[in-house]
Each structure stands twice: as C-alpha cells, then as structure tokens.
C-alpha cells in the first residue's frame, strides 16, 4: 500500500543567535493509512518541529525548510504557498496540541470554532455544520453535545477541551492526524480516554496518526511503529514491538532504561538517567550527535556521520555499531 505520508531527507533551519541553526537534519520516515506512528525523544529533539514541518507551520514559514521533501498522498507539500496549504490544513491534515487550556479561542463558543472549520472545508451551510459539529462531539463521547456547543472554552475542563480539540480535528475526516503530546497536560485517567479516542478514529476511518510523545509507556500501548529522534536527527525507526524489545540505537536503549517500571517489589531499584545534555543546535557538530553521551562511542563516532543500517523488517538505525546495540553488549 502506498504511504499516506512520506517524509524524506527533510532538513530545517531556524534563525538562532549566530545565524540560522539547523533544527532538523535529514529526517526520513513514512506513515501508512490506518497506522499510528509514535515519534519519541527528549524535549528539544525536534519532534514538534517535525510535525510543524509536515504541516508547513514552521515559525519562519516555507523558507525554513532547507532540503528534502514531504509527500502527502503523493503530493509535494514543501514549497506550497500559505494559501494552498490552507486547503490541506484542517481538512486532510489535522493537528492537536499539548495545551488544551490555551488552544481554544477564549472569546468564541465551541460551536463557532467547530462550525467555522466545517464550513470552510466542507462548504456546508451554518445549519448543516451545526448538526455535524454536534455529531462530532457525540463521537468523542461528550454526553451533552448541545450544551457543550454553547460553552466558552473557560467553562470546560482540560479533558473536555482536548475532546473538543479532537472533535474539531476529526470533523473533516482528515487522512492524517498529528497529535503533539496530546495527553501530557492531562490526568492519567483522562489520558487513557483520549488515547482510546485516537485508536477509535484510526480504526474506524483509517486516519493515519503521528503521535508525538516523550512517554514511551503511552507510545508502546498505542503505536504500531516508533520513530526515535535525537537532536534533530532520526536515530531509529521500526515496528513498535521490535524497537521496544530490541532497540538498535544506544539512545533508544537509554530512553527505555529511563522509563520507570513498577514491579511487584515496587519501583525498580534505581531510575536510570542519561548523562549529559542535548547539544545546542546553533553549535556546529561533527560526527554522531549522541556520541558525547554514548557509552559505546568509538573514535569514528566523533568524526563521521553514522550510516543508516537496515536491521530487517523495516527496522532502521543510524549507528556505527554492527547490528545495533542490543545484538552487541548493551547497557545492563
């Protein structure tokens, strides 16, 4: 099956202190219809920037993209004008964000914000749009859609707002949904409900989802594939089960080690923290960017850019280590 989204060799630079700083370097990944891709990494690894680059919503506009391509359903999105992108955004490519408290316009009712999107993209009348908006709210399991529609955002709880956001995002049946840490700001119980909603959308209408998170636990529940980012580079991509069980990149391995695990004896003896810091993108780097923090770093890691190795089953890793870290000796 042809992928709904094909990002290849994407590079992005944003203006920094000392001129343009590379934020994303040679990012490639793809997403099939009905697939959920988990995009993970520490804060500052470029997850959100990748999402914005797909939707052409980068702070500097299209100029920020310095190379590579973003193919959506076979159509090239880089280089499209703001006007052309408007027909994609909200209709084919929808987004939801981390902060449900600030993502809805405080001076408009939920109804106004939902119907505007529906009317613009589906060319419906106001009446039809209102009916559709109420339907969408029902789909995200809001019990009293009519009442919610007439609410202002400040009258709703965080979980409710995120549901409304999802309803807006799904209202034009997008083929791609980018969810940028949608559950981070929510209570754990609400988190589970939101994840369930996303799963439902994916199964029912075949929407492809990019799920951005730093929480490997959530990602492992939800995603069929995982892409691990580090400092604006793609460290590893592959099927979720493989990446989680047999990580190929030392960074993935370290991330997994940093997840707190609960066993019958309580918290695992000690939480593992990755030493060092994510490098500053405005400073020029050579070699593998993870090398300064990597326990397996070799001389070559500090001078050359690591090649992409195929571990089979569409599992790729960008590392010099033969066959990935878990096949050699890992952190144990």
């Amino acid at each position: 099956m042809e992928p709904i989204l094909q990002v290849s060799h994407l590079s992005v630079s944003l203006p920094g202190k000392n001129g343009p700083a590379p934020i994303l370097k040679d990012i490639s990944f793809s997403l099939k219809q009905g697939e959920i891709l988990g995009l993970v990494g520490e804060s500052g690894s470029g997850k959100s920037m990748t999402a914005f680059a797909v939707n052409q919503l980068l702070p500097g506009g299209g100029k920020s993209i310095t190379g590579g391509s973003v193919l959506f359903a076979g159509e090239e999105l880089t280089g499209k004008t703001e006007k052309q992108m408007q027909t994609f955004r909200g209709k084919d490519i929808a987004m939801i964000f981390q902060e449900p408290m600030t993502c809805l316009n405080p001076v408009f009712t939920v109804k106004r914000q939902m119907t505007d999107v529906i009317m613009i993209h589906e060319k419906r009348s106001r009446k039809e749009a209102e009916i559709q908006a109420a339907d969408m709210l029902k789909k995200v399991h809001i019990r009293d859609p009519e009442r919610t529609l007439s609410c202002y955002p400040y009258e709703l709880s965080g979980g409710m707002r995120q549901r409304v956001m999802i309803a807006i995002a799904l209202s034009c049946s997008p083929r791609l949904l980018i969810a940028d840490e949608p559950t981070t700001a929510l209570d754990v119980t609400v988190q589970a409900q939101i994840i369930f909603l996303l799963q439902e959308a994916c199964q029912e209408s075949g929407t492809g989802i990019i799920f951005i998170s730093h929480d490997l636990g959530v990602v492992s529940q939800l995603c069929s594939r995982i892409a691990v980012m580090y400092a604006g580079t793609m460290a590893e991509t592959g099927p979720a089960s493989e990446v989680l069980k047999a990580p190929g990149h030392p960074y993935t391995k370290a991330l997994l080690a940093a997840v707190p695990r609960f066993t019958s004896g309580g918290v695992r003896d000690r939480l593992y923290a990755i030493p060092g810091m994510v490098p500053d993108p405005s400073e020029i780097q050579r070699g593998c960017l993870f090398a300064p923090r990597c326990p397996h770093a070799m001389d070559i890691c500090r001078t050359e850019h690591p090649p992409i190795q195929n571990l089979g089953n569409q599992h790729q890793v960008s590392c010099f280590l033969e066959k990935g870290v878990s096949r050699g000796d890992g952190i144990s």
């Binding site: 939707n55 919503l57 703001e82 006007k83 992108m85 408007q86 027909t87 994609f88 955004r89 909200g90 209709k91 929808a94 987004m95 964000f97 902060e99 600030t102 993502c103 809805l104 316009n105 405080p106 001076v107 408009f108 914000q113 505007d116 999107v117 613009i120 993209h121 202002y152 400040y154 009258e155 956001m165 807006i168 995002a169």
Partner: protein
C-alpha cells in the same frame, strides 16, 4: 443575557461615582474660593445680589446643609446663572451640547477606526516600514499640543491648500436642519437634505481629525502590543492548523481578543476627547460646550465653568459605564465572574 444582579451592581456603582463627582465639584465651587458668592455673581454684581446669593447658597450654614442645597439644585437641573449672558447655564449648555457630542463622537470614531487599522497593520507587519511609520505617528501624536496642531492644520488646509473651512458647522448660506438630535449630520439625514449633510461633514472632518489624532496614536499603540501578544497565542496556531484563512485569522480570531484591552483604553480616550474639545472648538469656532466654556473663561464666568465641569464629568462617567458594559459583552469570562 444580563442578570438583574449585573445591572443592579452597575447602577449602585454609577450612583456612588456620581456622588463622588458631585462632592468634588461642590468642594471646588464652595470650599476652595475665598468668597464663593462673589465667584458666582461676578465682580460687577450689586451688594444686594451678593447678599441674596449668600443666603441662597446657605453660606452661613454648615457645609453639609450647603451640600444638601447644592444637590437639590442639581436634581432640579439648576446650574446657576451665567455672569456673562445672565441666562441659566443649564439651557446654554443644553444648546451647545449636541455640537460637542457630534464632534467628540466623530473624533472617537476616527480615533478607534484609524487606531485599530494602524495598530493591526503594525502588528502584522512587525518591524517593517509600516510598523516604524506607526511608531513615529504615535510618538508625534502623544507629544503634540492639541492647540498647536489645530492651528497648523488651519494654516495648511485652510490657508495654503484651501480644502477645508476654518470655522462653524455649516456653510453660511445653508440653514440648519430641523432640530431632532442637534447633530447636523444625523438631522440632515433624517430630513433628507443632502446639501446639509455634506456641508456638515465637510466642516466636521478637520476639527474631528485634529481632536482624534492624539487618541488615535494611543489606541494604535495599545492595539499593536495586544495584537502581537495574541498572534503568538496557542489558539491562533490551532486555528492556523485548522486551515482558517489568514484574513479571517487576523480580523476575527485575533482581533476580537486584541480589542479587549483596547476597549478599556477607550474609556480614558473619551475623557481626553471631552477635555480636548475645549481647545479644538475654540480654534475651529465650533459652537459647542468647549467654545462656550472658553468664552466664559475670559469673563471668569464661574457658574458657567462649573456647569460645564459637571455636565462633562457626568457624561464621562456615563460613557465609561457604557464601555464597561460593552467590555463584559465582548469578554464572556468577565460576565460570568461578575454575575456570580
């Protein structure tokens, strides 16, 4: 939409403010002057008139009694007798009120419309030429004395490029429209007399713009900074990610939020406009309350000055309350907090 409680609260507040204003004006006319009666009748009044006024004001009685008398007079709309014209101040002010209303309303409209346009343009094109231009326009606006810019406007647009008249509200060969609101443009429209309407607009434009300029500058700065703030908010990014077209994003999604802090500035704006009207009306010979008070000043016509102060301040308070209610209309959150 508004609960009984909401209106009740506003009314109580309004009455309190009116009381405060009357206490201040009472102090100015009865407590500050060495001889209030002499101030009110003028230097040329006879001894009998002076004595009669002393008794009428109750100057021999305690201050509270004097205040009570003062308030009784106010409640009856009695603002005293003008020293200059020997006619009731209230009727003179009533006659000139519509002209001032027309001028300040026009100025307010200009200040808000141009100020918002300029502010939005500056925010959307931040750090580009239009932003710098708007900054310079604003800086000049807040630093220019109103009486000077009015005179310069006359020199430029009356003497050098004669496109605007120098004085009055209508061309002299036209007779004023039938008096309904007292505002010539509206009355002219009601009477269907387009000659009057056009002439009235022609006479109004220059004084209204001079009066509006400073406030326009202030509104533009306010709109610019709140617009920049709003455009960086998450909900604007959300709307963008939903494919909301740019013009709708700026003029509806962002502007409504950016106007909220601007509305509160508008209240202050009106006070400045009412004060500025004294100067603008004088320079453009606009027959409103401002010119009336200016004419009174040269005669030290104290009752006229105090009457003007009262009417303007009461209007100011009323307009501010209207702005307050408008604000709660625009901001749903305030309405909720206020009602609970």
């Amino acid at each position: 939409m508004f609960s009984f409680q909401f209106i009740w609260k506003r009314l109580v507040h309004l009455i309190l403010v009116f009381l405060g204003v009357s206490i201040v004006t009472f102090s100015i006319s009865h407590v500050i002057p060495g001889d209030p009666a002499r101030m009110l009748v003028g230097p040329h009044a006879t001894q009998e008139t002076l004595e009669a006024t002393r008794i009428q004001l109750g100057l021999d009685q305690p201050v509270l009694v004097q205040y009570e008398k003062y308030m009784t007079d106010l409640a009856h709309g009695n603002l005293g007798t003008s020293i200059r014209t020997q006619r009731p101040v209230s009727s003179e002010l009533a006659r000139s009120f519509p002209a001032t209303l027309e001028l300040t309303l026009a100025a307010m409209l200009m200040a808000i419309v141009f100020g918002v346009i300029l502010g939005v343009a500056a925010a959307v094109h931040r750090d580009r030429w239009i932003d710098h231009a708007s900054r310079i326009i604003s800086l000049i606006g807040v630093s220019t004395p109103l009486f000077w810019s009015g005179i310069i406007a006359l020199i430029v647009f009356y003497k050098m490029i004669p496109i605007f008249p120098a004085s009055g509200r209508l061309d002299t060969f036209l007779s004023p429209p039938p008096d309904i609101t007292g505002m010539y443009i509206i009355d002219g429209l009601l009477a269907g007399d387009m000659d009057v309407v056009l002439s009235a607009i022609h006479h109004l434009l220059l004084p209204a713009f001079c009066l509006a300029y400073v406030q326009m500058a202030i509104v533009a700065r306010q709109v610019r900074s709140s617009m920049i703030d709003v455009l960086e908010q998450d909900y604007i990014r959300t709307a963008k990610s939903c494919g909301i077209p740019r013009h709708m994003l700026i003029y509806r999604y962002a502007l409504k939020n950016a106007l909220l802090p601007t509305v509160t500035v508008t209240g202050l704006t009106i006070g400045e406009l009412l004060g500025g009207a004294i100067i603008t009306e004088t320079i453009f010979a606009w027959p409103g309350m401002g010119k009336y008070v200016m004419d009174s000043i040269s005669f030290l016509d104290f009752p006229a000055i105090m009457g003007f102060t009262l009417v303007v301040s009461f209007s100011y308070v009323l307009i501010n309350m209207a702005v307050d209610i408008l604000y709660s209309f625009l901001n749903p959150q305030i309405r909720e907090v206020d009602e609970s």
